[in-house]
Symmetry: D2
Subunit: 425 residues, 4 copies
Amino acid sequence: MRSPLPDYLLEVVDACASDRSGALADYIPDLARADPERLGVALSTIDGEVYAAGDVDVEFTIQSISKPFVYALAIQDSGLDEVLRRISVEPSGNAFNELSLEAGTGRPYNPMINAGAIASHALVVDGLSSEDERVERVLEAFSELAGRELHVNEAVFESEMSTAHRNLGIAHMLRAQGIIEDDPEEIVRGYTRQCSIDVTARDLALMSATLANSGRQPQSGRRIIDPRVVRQVLSVMLSCGMYDAAGDWITTVGIPAKSGVSGGVIGALPGQLGLAVFSPRLDEHGNSVRGVQVCERLSADTGLHLMESVQPARSIMSAPEVDIDGDGARTVTVRLRGSMLFTGAERVLRALSQLDTGDLGSLVVDLEDVFTMSDVAVRMLVEAGRRVALDGVSVTVHDPGELLGDVSADALGAAVVVDEPLAAG
Amino acid sequence: MRSPLPDYLLEVVDACASDRSGALADYIPDLARADPERLGVALSTIDGEVYAAGDVDVEFTIQSISKPFVYALAIQDSGLDEVLRRISVEPSGNAFNELSLEAGTGRPYNPMINAGAIASHALVVDGLSSEDERVERVLEAFSELAGRELHVNEAVFESEMSTAHRNLGIAHMLRAQGIIEDDPEEIVRGYTRQCSIDVTARDLALMSATLANSGRQPQSGRRIIDPRVVRQVLSVMLSCGMYDAAGDWITTVGIPAKSGVSGGVIGALPGQLGLAVFSPRLDEHGNSVRGVQVCERLSADTGLHLMESVQPARSIMSAPEVDIDGDGARTVTVRLRGSMLFTGAERVLRALSQLDTGDLGSLVVDLEDVFTMSDVAVRMLVEAGRRVALDGVSVTVHDPGELLGDVSADALGAAVVVDEPLAAG
Amino acid sequence: MRSPLPDYLLEVVDACASDRSGALADYIPDLARADPERLGVALSTIDGEVYAAGDVDVEFTIQSISKPFVYALAIQDSGLDEVLRRISVEPSGNAFNELSLEAGTGRPYNPMINAGAIASHALVVDGLSSEDERVERVLEAFSELAGRELHVNEAVFESEMSTAHRNLGIAHMLRAQGIIEDDPEEIVRGYTRQCSIDVTARDLALMSATLANSGRQPQSGRRIIDPRVVRQVLSVMLSCGMYDAAGDWITTVGIPAKSGVSGGVIGALPGQLGLAVFSPRLDEHGNSVRGVQVCERLSADTGLHLMESVQPARSIMSAPEVDIDGDGARTVTVRLRGSMLFTGAERVLRALSQLDTGDLGSLVVDLEDVFTMSDVAVRMLVEAGRRVALDGVSVTVHDPGELLGDVSADALGAAVVVDEPLAAG
Amino acid sequence: MRSPLPDYLLEVVDACASDRSGALADYIPDLARADPERLGVALSTIDGEVYAAGDVDVEFTIQSISKPFVYALAIQDSGLDEVLRRISVEPSGNAFNELSLEAGTGRPYNPMINAGAIASHALVVDGLSSEDERVERVLEAFSELAGRELHVNEAVFESEMSTAHRNLGIAHMLRAQGIIEDDPEEIVRGYTRQCSIDVTARDLALMSATLANSGRQPQSGRRIIDPRVVRQVLSVMLSCGMYDAAGDWITTVGIPAKSGVSGGVIGALPGQLGLAVFSPRLDEHGNSVRGVQVCERLSADTGLHLMESVQPARSIMSAPEVDIDGDGARTVTVRLRGSMLFTGAERVLRALSQLDTGDLGSLVVDLEDVFTMSDVAVRMLVEAGRRVALDGVSVTVHDPGELLGDVSADALGAAVVVDEPLAAG
């Protein structure tokens, strides 16, 4: 069988290709020379399966889509507190001023507008590094995210620098506010290089899928961004990524997203997938006309929306299997599976608390099919094991994947964790 | 074993009770008479298990927490288009005006501020109904959401009406803008009754859990709000529910939420749980001091955050079981489980598309452990079945829960759906 | 000789009559029935000479042109401090909210917008009076200002009350803010009556000329408004009277002004004249199209502009006349004239300080041709007299108009004030 | 007699010297080294009499007080239309952004804020000139305005350039908007030089008095700024010069004014006087604490306020003198005096139109004591002369100052203008 998904993406591409409204960005000569008819869509699942249709291997400069990723690097390199001290996280609303600095604090409203993105760039590495070091850091990280070596498009870089008045204005102003401390011109040069990295829609789908996958690149499996940083980045993409009008995007599309002036749009739905669209004509907000359409259509067709309920806890546990040995002693085996967070752990605890421990001899908990456990879920499961063992039940947890980590003997009490798989029943 | 969760909630209550900052709302005499020391926390899972600690059975008036629910009723009764025509969905930012009407359209910024909530109230039933009919509708729906009969606190209602100048001002202005068409005084009276319904933290946890559960009351199992409406309501709660500063709440707590001036706060994490806190002292934003603290603490301790990745698709399918009969014909059986949305269906399709159909005689798909399937997942699975059958494989889908609904013969091709459970292997 | 001024006004009327752009206000049926072709212009000098052309005797309702005059009454009746506590004096800028209440204070931005005008109306008489008393007070004062008995147009009043939602909204909101304390509906009714008083362009020219004449009605000579109140009112008209864009009006026209929705515009140049235009078609700002044109044209043609320099001090004093009597003692006589304020008095003092008092026997100062002296000018002149007398000169001031008032003997020293005219030299 | 005015100024200085609140500007080292106790006040009449008290001869850098004068130069050099195309004239209100560019047009709100002042500087000479040419032009003009040769304080200039981030930010942004077209760094350097010119309070009083005197330097008598330009500059000073809150300054002080960060404040009342105060400690608005106090006190004590009525027309004309010759033919002589603008001319025309021309032989009009006539007044007087002559009266106008200029014979008809003084009656 051939999967129908590529067919579906082709349909989407065909349907959206007919819209020729919008216009190329014209303030940079190189962008104005793009082929306006290009349209490519790529999806990547969090385990690295990529579905693609259309012009997904055409290179274009990443532009503002670099912002969420460099924001992530800034937090990784300088720490969240330091970054929040310099860049706020609020949607800028109908920003009628050119700077969008917050009253009082002087911070850029958020890292998705130029002021905040320039400030993010300045926080990469350690705030003291050189222009080259910052660009090097960004380029290496982006290459890892995309899974191939990326390069700066020097022609576009030169072209943008010649009309970078606005960004220079912003950078000098940020310097005046103390938001950045290095030379404004160097920072603008580095930032413009960051924006001039060539990518394809396929690259962007994998980069987005890394965000959807808690920071682990879906194909290499390497952790590139810390999960807490990913949470911050996705939150900010949701509220500030696409429109001045955050509420409209959250209600209708409901996917953390970011667009760029060269026609790219990315989206990332945590735990589900990353997506990327490329089509150069822009609407009056500066977003790719067809990019927005594809997002809206995917959200509507597929139910990909942050508020679409997935009820992850309901299938966390198989029905308990009960064995009674010759002595009449019951052994209960529960097999857990999937991604166990707080609500999953709650289900398990609830089931365990309802066990009649009267003639229960042994409880066996099998974690072999669990692929992630959050810290709170680990603590909850360990506490439950300890409590059941206190009731005089022999408790054994099979944890071949070592999800529980180093649990102290104190925490476990009489319960036992083994790293061997449960022998097949 | 006794579940450790109630102990955890008690800890949270104890830790937050020591904060005595903030002040009672004083503009309504009845609110100023509340006991400031009260503190209660309740969580409800989406299958109706309620965990509670502290003063969860003390009644207080629902106030602004009524807003998301009445917004839901307005959409159900008048349609989303009509509601959007009259009420926007944007955060109002640092609202420095008393009205928060959008420039140009004259619409209230969102249904979580008074102007939008008054307009929502006016759209309940059908926009032509009487004051009593609207209040009746609200009271019945709230009673169903809470799972018990609720009542208007007439003393608070009278007290609030005597100082309702601001709401009267808003309602007259909405009438001037054509946002409402009925008598402004009647609408304010009805709206004030809506705000004066007595509830407990336990009630609110169940009401929130209904939102988390796609609109189905967790204990009665009755669908009270349509899933698409729930999506809209949760989205608006996320961006407009708590602070003027939407970005801060989204990044740090990440739970769609709403607070009320009598000291309540609710939160709803789709597919996971509903929560409610009650503690009357308010901070300068008008949110319950301890209510916000409890939310922040729960989010931090438990990882309950919209961007926390649950990876629902990864456990959607058991490993395929292969049987080879005497003739050497293979039968492959796949058992699906959990909540199957787009990304879950993608996993299944990918697995099926990798099947070697060369000597495959039969494919058996078991849906018995699947508890929800989205429309797109149904279409994807049916299409996959049709395609595998086209390869000459005998395809049987066991769907005892009739999740696939009425699939046409055309869509299925040669594949067969039966509503009997799969006989145990 | 026939004055060419009426001819000039006819020319202006003819030139502006050809512009038929703009539209009648349509939200009140009675206004929508106005004859759109009407055009009248009237000027009144501060001594009551009225020049008129076109439809200057057609009645129309005064509408917002009532605002500056009722603001004046509010200050007179309740005191400037009390009024400033409730109404600010700032231009509202590109007011994008319907209320225009100042952040922090909750005060209406200024008395020229509806919120501020409703608050002004509530402060007429004493803030405790009845609806009828307030309307009575306004009607009497307006009649005195216009020099004839005016009446409320009850048909327009009824018509406006039926669509007064916005004003009711504002009034309730002002009540909520504590800006007004009476019943919001009564205040809106009184305010609407105030706006429904019938006037003609001729009436308005005299009303404006009263402002230009420091509050004294030019024809009756009666003081109706205190000069300090007039200063406040003219200042506010200048910055808030016509456009959201105060700077444009101040630079191009430079005349304190106010427009009304029925097509009237007034202007008042202090010490010079009052003007009024009537033409019902309005531009997008709600100002009479031709009314604005006439103002711009008058300002451009005639140099009537607040910043046009009149150099009042330069002719304050005739050349000193010197008489030498038989003993060789000199008598110097100075005749002052015009309106003597600070800079006029400075000229006189300077001249006196340059007098060689060596053989000066007498100084005679003649005030007969001075028609006003400010307090500071009185003090300066008296001090100068005292100082010259200290030099041993016999000083006599002829003040038949008693402009110096009751000057104490201490202040005068040896100088003498007589209320007889100076005998002709 | 010694004039009491210097005593009065000393009193004002003493009264205000006791206030030690506020703080020195500290962002520029050189300003932070100023002596905070300095206080000087100077007034200059429009004929160049200077009254001074306190530290009026201490040099300090002019800073923002240069703005209105350079705005004047920009208009003179580039034309008002060109300047308005690039710089608006609106108060910036509670400017919460650092740039204050107008939505839509991208223009700086007004020339009194840095963005508008930098744009003004760029328009000096001709928009194409070099940095040195612009600074040269400014320095020469300022020297002429002050009546002595001024110099740039190079130490302050260097000091300011080292922290000019904000102005560089603004200039780059203006370049991005197309408001300026030259190199942003050069313009900021020139602008900073302009701000670093050393002046004294005495200098500033004369510079302000030049504005008050329609652009003619009071002591040299040279016209430095065109009267129409002065009108524009004073209008903008009034609405944008001192506070974000324009309305408060207009109502309470009512004098077009401008302050600078080094502690200077100037005020100019058209036709009356210029004033300057110097005291380095600033309030939270960045205005000199004592500078504002002195202005408020002078306005309150002396009635110097734009809306204070001077009624210039009332003394424009002496009572007509009537002579009857032997033949019974009457000759009427009217002597005009002072500054004759529209309202003055109206008075004269009115008197002439009331003359009984029945047996009037001659009309003699004496302009010897008139020191200025506006264009409109000239036209009105000439038209009146023509009309009276048409009635058969012999009309002679004595115009020794040649105020009427070149009036055509057509315009005069049979009336005659002679440039000889009227022989003494």
